[in-house]
Amino acid sequence: MPTYARRLFVLLVILFAIGLTVRTLAVPKGFGEFGHWRAGALAEEAARTPTLQGKKVCAQCHRAEFAAHELGPHVTVQCEDCHGSGAKHVASERGSGAKVAMFRHLKQANCLACHGQLLARPKLFPTIDVKQHFAEVGVKDPKTRCQECHNPHNPLFLDHPVAEARKHPLIHPCTDCHFDKSIRTRPMPPGHVVTFQCKDCHAAIVADFAQKAHASLDCTSCHPFRRESQFSGVILKTGNPKFCLMCHESHPFKTDAKIPLIVSLQGHLNDLGAPPEDMTKRCVDCHLQDAIHQTQGLSIVETPAEAAGAKGGSGAKP
C-alpha cells in the first residue's frame, strides 16, 4: 500500500475513533435502561405541576359557593370548567402571577355551550331554546343572562344534593320509542304497552293539578326527573321560595302579562302582614292547595280501584 493511502487510512481511523468516542460520551445518562429512550424522561414528565386543581381545593376558600354547587345538578361540573385554572387564580390573587379572567361564564353563550340545542347532543341532556323559554317565562330582553334567574352553582335551587335524590321508576314518554312524529298521531294499536306516565300512579293529584293555575306545566317542571339508567332515574326535590321566584319574581327585563309577578318575597310577606317568625315560610305552605295540586295521594299507596276511578276522569298531562 502506498504511503498516501496508509496516511489516508490512519486519518480515517482516527476520525472514526474520535467520532465513536464523542458519540459514546454524548449518549444521555440512563438511555436504553428500559428501552430505546432516556429513563429519566418518565420521572421528569411525572414531575410537572398540575395546573387544574379540582373543586375540593376551590372549596377551601369558597365554602358557600361550593355548598350550593354540591347540592345542585351542576355537581358534576368542575369549578374550573367555568372559572379557568385554579392555580393561576391563586397565583394572581397572591400577586405572583398574571391577572386572569375568572368569569368566562357570565355570557349566555357560555351556558349554551352545554345547554344550547344541538342535533348532536344526547337526547336526555337538558337543552333549551332560549327564545321559546323567554317567551314562556315572559322575558322581554333577549340578551338577558341566564344567571339573572338561575344560580349557576345550583341552577334549580334543589332542596337536597342530587346524589341523595329519591329513586324513581323511569317515566316513559311516547317519544322514547317513537322518535318519528308521524307515528304519534295514529291511534294506539290494541295490546300496545301502556306507557308509564305520572297519572298512572298519582291519578288523584294529576287530576287535581289539571284544574289549577299551573295546569299548563309538566309535572317535571317542578319535579325534575333525571334519567340514570335504562330502568330508573331520580326525582329531584324543589319547592323552596327561590325555586318559585325563578318564574314569579319581578325583574326589569320581564313582563307580567302571563305570570303573576311579585317584587320580592320579603315585600310579599310584609304585605300579607305575616308575623316576623313566618319569614322562612315556603310558598307551597300557602299556595299548594289553591294554585298547584292537592296533597292527598302524594305517595302511591293507592288501591287499584281508586286509581282506575281517577284515571277515567282525568285529562291530565303526563
Binding site: 444521555p28 438511555f31 432516556r38 421528569e44 398540575p50 358534576t76
Partner: protein, 274 residues
C-alpha cells in the same frame, strides 16, 4: 414472541398481564437471567440487584410497572361542550391552533352524506351547523379525540432518536430534551394527534396527563368532563372503571385495520368515525 403478539386480533383488548408488549421482551428477559447467572457466579449475592429491572418508583408511591393505562370515551354521553379541550389547553399550555384533544361533530344527512366539523377543535364548543337544515339530518353525535396511546404505535416506531417512547405503564410519551423536531412522528400518526410545538420546537402530544395520573389525580379532560363521557383507568386492574365499562359495553377503536392496537376505546362507535 410475547403473549400480545400471538393474539394478533385487531380489536383485542390488552390483557392485564405482567408482561410488557413488544417482541424483544422474551429475549431481554433471557439476557437478564443469563447475565444474572453469570454475575452470580462471579459475585455471589448480587443477583437480587440485577433482577430488579422495574422502573424506579416515582414520587415515592407510584410504580409505573404496576399499571397499564387505557382510556374509554362513551360517545353516547358527550355533549360537545368543549370543556375537555379548554381544560387540556390550560393544563398543558397547548399553543394556539394545536390540540392534544379535540371534539368532532358528525352529522349524517338523509342524502347519505356525512359531514364532520370541529371549529377550532371545539375550544369554544359548537354552534348549530348553518349549512344544514335540521330536517335533513338523520343522526348526529360528538366524538372526542385524543392520543390513542397505541400498543404498536407507529410514531414511536419512526422516531429516529428514541425521543418518543412507550412508558412501562403503556403511555406514548416524548422526551422533550431529546427530540430533534423532525416531524416524522407527526406524519406517522394515523390519527392526527401529534404536532410540532412552535414554542419548544419539539413534537408534542397528549401525555394522558402523566403528571396528574402518576399523582393519583384524574387527567384534566376527564376531570373537566361534566357529563361522564371520558374515563381513564388502569387496564391491569380488573376493578377499574375502564375495565367495568369495557366488560359491559360494545366498543371499538379507531382505524383498527392499521394494526396500531389503540388503547383508547370508544363506546358506541360508528363506522364512519375515523
Amino acid at each position: 414472541m410475547s403473549e400480545e403478539e400471538k393474539k394478533g386480533g385487531t380489536l383485542s383488548l390488552p390483557e392485564p398481564s405482567e408482561k410488557k408488549p413488544g417482541g424483544s421482551l422474551a429475549r431481554r428477559d433471557l439476557l437478564k437471567y443469563s447475565a444474572a447467572g453469570l454475575a452470580g457466579l462471579v459475585t455471589l449475592g448480587k443477583i437480587d440487584d440485577l433482577l430488579a429491572e422495574s422502573y424506579p418508583t416515582i414520587g415515592g408511591s407510584y410504580h409505573p410497572d404496576e399499571h397499564w393505562w387505557g382510556f374509554v370515551v362513551d360517545l353516547r354521553k358527550c355533549i360537545g361542550c368543549g370543556a375537555c379541550v379548554r381544560a387540556c389547553k390550560e393544563e398543558n399550555s397547548v399553543p394556539d391552533g394545536f390540540f392534544r384533544t379535540w371534539v368532532e361533530r358528525y352529522t349524517f344527512l338523509k342524502d347519505g352524506r356525512v359531514l364532520v366539523d370541529s371549529p377550532d377543535g371545539a375550544l369554544e364548543g359548537f354552534e348549530p351547523r348553518a349549512d344544514v337544515k335540521p330536517e335533513e339530518v338523520t343522526k348526529s353525535f360528538f366524538v372526542p379525540k385524543l392520543c390513542n396511546h397505541c400498543e404498536q404505535s407507529p410514531c414511536v416506531q419512526v422516531c429516529p432518536v428514541g425521543a418518543s417512547y412507550q412508558s412501562p405503564d403503556g403511555l406514548v410519551l416524548i422526551d422533550k430534551t431529546h427530540c430533534i423536531g423532525c416531524g416524522y412522528c407527526v406524519q406517522a400518526c394515523p390519527y392526527g394527534c401529534r404536532y410540532l410545538n412552535p414554542v419548544t420546537g419539539t413534537a408534542d402530544k397528549c401525555t394522558m396527563c402523566y403528571h396528574r395520573i402518576s399523582k393519583g389525580l384524574k387527567t384534566a379532560c376527564v376531570e373537566a368532563c361534566p357529563h361522564g363521557a371520558r374515563h381513564y383507568g388502569d387496564l391491569k386492574d380488573p376493578n377499574s372503571e375502564v375495565r367495568r365499562l369495557l366488560n359491559t359495553s360494545r366498543y371499538g377503536v379507531l382505524k383498527p385495520d392499521l394494526g396500531t392496537h389503540p388503547k383508547c376505546f370508544y363506546i358506541g362507535l360508528d363506522e364512519e368515525v375515523v
